[in-house]
Symmetry: C2
Subunit: 252 residues, 2 copies
Amino acid sequence: MMADTLAAGNLTLNPLYKEVKIRITRGLAAGEWKPGGAIPSETRLAKQFNVSIGTIRKAIDELVAEKILLRQQGRGTFVATHSDDRTLFYFFHIVGKDGGRELPVTELLSFRKGRAEAGEDVRLGMPRGGRILRVENLLKLEGKPVILDEIVVPAVLFPDLDQETFGGRAGTIYGLYQARYDINVIRISERLSAAIAPPKVAALLGITASVPALKIKRVAYTYDDTPVEYRVSWVNTGNHEYLSDLWKNEAR
Amino acid sequence: MMADTLAAGNLTLNPLYKEVKIRITRGLAAGEWKPGGAIPSETRLAKQFNVSIGTIRKAIDELVAEKILLRQQGRGTFVATHSDDRTLFYFFHIVGKDGGRELPVTELLSFRKGRAEAGEDVRLGMPRGGRILRVENLLKLEGKPVILDEIVVPAVLFPDLDQETFGGRAGTIYGLYQARYDINVIRISERLSAAIAPPKVAALLGITASVPALKIKRVAYTYDDTPVEYRVSWVNTGNHEYLSDLWKNEAR
DNA sequence: TTCGATTTGTTCGTATGTATT
DNA sequence: TAATACATACGAACAAATCGA
């Protein structure tokens, strides 16, 4: 609350607004403001940080562009939620070939504890053999199975997570992470390839062994680029496809 | 040059900076400023449009975020080029599974004139049977063929384009469109699926008939969302994959 | 319904810093 | 060195949306 705290602590020579952005992000990571809730108003933040309101706005601008915050004129600035329709399709890219966008109905196939295998450890930034949770999830579109997700998360991040909690969640998986474990997925990186799905997977997706499937390896990150989930998805691209459309959904 | 031209013509009740953005975009579309060249300085634009410099900056901010313009402190603001390393990987998403990013060496396989077939017409926004150019292009990474591109463009946009011009180009294909035909690809939309490549394609990619390939259908757009190219790519994902990584390349 | 307080959105202007030429 | 151009930061005023009294 003292004056020029920000300028004084700014030894990295970052611009002020970058420092403000870092401060806000730290507050978000620390759970200072909850998802769906409002952060302090711009005027209040300006006083708190002892900077002009324009500097605050510039910092928030970037966080809004990254879909971490959400502005609403007349109401305030809110922590983005994984139950907003806006941000929902930011992480779900499978659409019908006819063009229809639809959210999947999910079915929990299995949930068990295990150890991080080769590859998983690196992507999750944890030691080989570290404790993980392993989830298999089947996603249906228009009533038919289209995607099989094999999800791996570090057990330490989700202390009491069990099959009932996971299967009985109300919204999306990231919504569960966010609401119940204060883990906020803000970015994903996906690597796609074509491959023959393992027999079990193919059977679940209703395709024969020779039909190629889309294989998606995803790492999900929270603040500060910490990986929190590794996911391999198998997609039956008979009637659906992966849509990569930068900008089209943005304000233009 | 008269005063408040902008405010007076703003009947759509758009914010001023949106109008400025539209004006600048129109100038770009009209070829008023060439790729790689500078647009007028912010102070000059502010005088021209009779708005404050802050309004100009806000308009340019968005165009820079869309990678249409490029700012350089002390130098000016430039029309983005398809030969910039920065924007290059914005349109090329195939990377080595080991992680290496590399630009492909291309080999022109065929170039012929034809008619738009079903599907192509819709995606290119032109009548069925309209005149098109059809190009087959083989892309090699680390010396080995990895991608086969089947490119379709409206002939009317590329009047004198022939096999020699296409094959003898210096940089990328979009660089050719931009430098020689004033057609600036600024956005692409891609739809990915897994499929068995046609025998000819499989042979070119060095895979057997049963190995699945990644099929990418791309529509490339210029200003005002006009489609200028439809492209089907077949990717051998044996050693490479499609990287979809929002934000990672951006300033953070 | 109306009104007023609050909050973000837009626009203006100014001053100063930093990079380039 | 000087001029130019973008980058940062400050402040002010008003518009527009929201919400509760």
